[in-house]
């Protein structure tokens, strides 16, 4: 179904207008596969607005996803886009970034993908300050496979593989990102669309390893199983439970089934990126003999 043929209802007498997100999307692939009330599309909406505000040449932005519901984001973006293997979006993106340093490379994936199977890569990319922007849509579950335990599932929540309630302690993603050395760490929920858009825009304009966690409802598998209502009910809960604390200590931002949801920009620090460090170090060691790495030579 091509979106060009989908009717847009607008006020009579006004010219037809397209959704402002559409130029950033592969329109022929919409409608997308996400469930009614899933928050992933909302994050994409905010991301498209941020791209529009922060980037002048979209040809110089690449997006890389892993596997899962959020792993489908790359395929909907009208950018150079890669839907890679489960957990390995970050190392793919690192290779791409180092091969073409003039590109902005965004990793967009889910909590299970980035922090369970891909956790090791996240830690090391943050440690190296790899020049990547990593957006994690955290819905607390494995949606694509049917609602299994995630490393972020709150204690007490029921999942198909934790049918009597989760007894594991979940991972605090901002705390991990901070400890591993990320340059920029923020968290919002899909309630905070304006703040999220602003943070995504800010992060797109920065260098180094940038991490943005976005809490989003999974109505089909997390909410229904835990009798938490629809997507919109959960977003209302985000509104009620959220406290904006810019600069909060990331050790204090744990999430549970109840209690405050601390959101805001937690970390923003300057560190040389991996490539800057390599070039600076070898310049020092080899002097003028060093051939600094800036990317590919022009095509013959």
């Amino acid at each position: 179904m091509s979106t060009d043929t989908l009717d847009t209802l607008g006020p009579e007498g006004l010219p037809h207008m397209d959704n402002p997100s559409l130029p950033y999307l592969r329109g022929e692939r919409i409608p997308h596969i996400w469930c009614p009330g899933c928050g992933i599309g909302t994050t994409v909406n905010c991301f498209t607005r941020a791209l529009g505000e922060a980037v002048s040449d979209l040809d110089k932005v690449a997006i890389v996803s892993g596997i899962g519901c959020t792993g489908r984001v790359a395929g909907y973006m009208n950018l150079d886009s890669f839907h890679t293997t489960h957990g390995r979006a970050i190392p793919f993106a690192a290779g791409l970034k180092l091969a073409r340093p003039e590109m902005k490379v965004v990793v967009y994936s889910g909590d299970g993908d980035l922090f369970a199977i891909g956790g090791n890569h996240f830690v090391h990319a943050a440690r190296r300050n790899m020049d990547l922007m990593v957006v994690c849509v955290n819905n607390f579950t494995y949606g694509m496979t049917g609602g299994q335990l995630a490393p972020t599932t709150p204690e007490g929540a029921s999942q198909t593989t934790m049918p009597f309630g989760n007894f594991e302690k979940p991972m605090s993603l901002p705390f991990l990102a901070d400890a591993a050395g990320a340059s920029f760490v923020a968290r919002w929920t899909v309630f905070h669309v304006r703040q999220l858009t602003r943070t995504l825009r800010e992060a797109l304009g920065k260098q180094g390893f940038r991490f943005i966690e976005i809490l989003a409802p999974c109505p089909t598998l997390f909410l229904r199983r835990n009798r938490l209502g629809d997507g919109v009910d959960m977003v209302r809960v985000y509104k009620e439970r959220s406290k904006i604390r810019d600069g909060a200590d990331t050790k204090d931002v744990d999430l549970g089934m109840d209690g405050d949801i601390i959101v805001g920009k937690f970390v923003d620090r300057e560190r040389p990126t991996w490539l800057q460090s390599m070039n600076a170090h070898y310049q020092q060691v080899f002097g003028e003999r060093y051939r600094p790495w800036g990317g590919v030579r022009e095509q013959d």
Partner: protein, 385 residues
């Protein structure tokens, strides 16, 4: 085109196979390596890391082999020639990304310096027991190319060739070394850059909008673009159509999987390299590859001294397997002898190709060292009887 002089150490060197393979990669234009240390392959990345500051490029030691084997794919889409290097346990970890590279047609080179296995096995000692894994190890149907050097000189030559084949066919290409050939030091002659043939990427001539990333050319291989050049490509490990978009149906699966297999299976002589010696009128033909071919050569010569008419066919390209050539040889010989450092891998391929017309005698070895030539000789003499 020919090699970029910056990467070519022209001259005569006395180096081991690992170092020679690294020089081969540099000569072929490889400027990005992501690796993870593993014996007995580590010297390749160590040399690359020390060479690259003055050549220009990137070496990054990743956190594991999964990371290494996909970072290089990111770099390749970014326009670089790129490889990773490993040994058995690391190759096992790379399997998922070998499938990704085959399915998304990434011109990826992987050097596997084989050691005894399974599991941690014999880290410092040789084997040739990854030959089936490298062909079949990732799930699903796909084809790869595998080259088998038997000397440090060939480690150089065949690594250059591996890059060229990868660019031409857009499928993973493996250099199947082993611990002995990797650590054996011999004379290696590196030619002048203008004497080294280098195959460039199949850059498309089409403009964005006209270009489809998985639309095959006549040889069934699609042309490529580089990220950042305005084509806005999508690449997925899901079954995909020519636009690169997911296509979740049996027809799309059939079309794509068959094309990927056929482009290699129907390549014909372009992907056959069997070095034959005295096979035309041989009563017995020894089929060998890699380091074992050098041990076998001694046995072949001893057998000839005893009056046996014995030929030697060395597989330089082991995958795709030269089935047709083996069948032709089967029509004019009485027996095959296949020595290999495993309990029977490529010998099964010889059996399959020969299809029962003549006996195939495996001279196996569990690995850890090379064969005693006498065992191969005994096999030849028995086969000739």
């Amino acid at each position: 085109m020919t090699a970029d002089p910056l990467g070519v150490l022209t001259g005569v060197h006395f180096i081991d196979g690992d170092h020679a393979a690294c020089e081969g990669a540099l000569a072929a234009g490889c400027r990005f390596v992501a690796g993870y240390p593993i014996t007995p392959s580590t010297e390749i990345v160590e040399r690359f890391a020390s060479r690259i500051p003055l050549v220009g490029g990137v070496f990054i030691q990743m956190e594991d082999e999964l990371a290494a084997s996909i970072a290089v794919q990111g770099a390749i889409w970014g326009g670089q020639k790129s490889m990773t290097v490993t040994s058995g346990p690391g190759l096992s970890l790379m399997m998922e990304h070998i499938g990704l590279a085959a399915f998304t047609e990434v011109p990826l080179v992987i050097i596997d310096v084989q050691r005894g296995g399974p599991s941690t096995g014999l880290p410092t000692l040789p084997a040739q027991a990854d030959m089936m894994q490298v062909k079949w190890g990732s799930h699903g149907d796909y084809e790869i190319i595998a080259l088998c050097p038997s000397s440090p000189q060939e480690c150089f030559d065949l690594t250059v060739r591996a890059f060229n084949l990868a660019e031409q066919w857009r499928t993973p290409v493996f250099v199947m070394m082993d611990e002995v050939v990797g650590h054996m030091t011999e004379r290696v002659q590196i030619p002048a850059p203008e004497a080294i043939e280098v195959v460039e990427r199949r850059w498309t001539g089409l403009k964005p909008g006209d270009y489809r990333p998985f639309q095959p050319a006549e040889d069934l291989v699609p042309d490529m673009v580089r990220v950042g050049d305005g084509y806005r490509i999508h690449v997925t490990g899901l079954t995909h159509d020519e636009r690169g978009y997911p296509a979740m149906n049996p027809a799309a699966q059939d079309k794509l999987v068959r094309r990927l297999a056929t482009k290699i299976r129907d390549a014909g002589d372009a992907l056959v390299d069997v070095r034959e010696e005295a096979c035309e009128d041989a009563d017995v033909i020894v089929v060998s590859y890699g380091i074992t071919s050098r041990v076998a050569q001694a046995a072949v010569e001893q057998a000839r001294a005893q009056g046996v008419r014995v030929g030697h066919a060395r597989l330089v390209i082991a995958w795709p397997f030269p089935s047709q050539r083996m069948a032709e040889l089967a029509a004019r010989t009485k027996a095959f002898v296949v020595p290999e450092l495993n309990l029977g891998q490529m010998s099964r391929e010889v059996e399959r190709a020969v299809a029962g017309r003549v006996p195939v005698r495996l001279i196996d070895h569990a690995g850890g060292t090379v064969h005693e030539p006498d065992r191969i000789l005994a096999g030849i003499l028995e086969a000739a009887r």
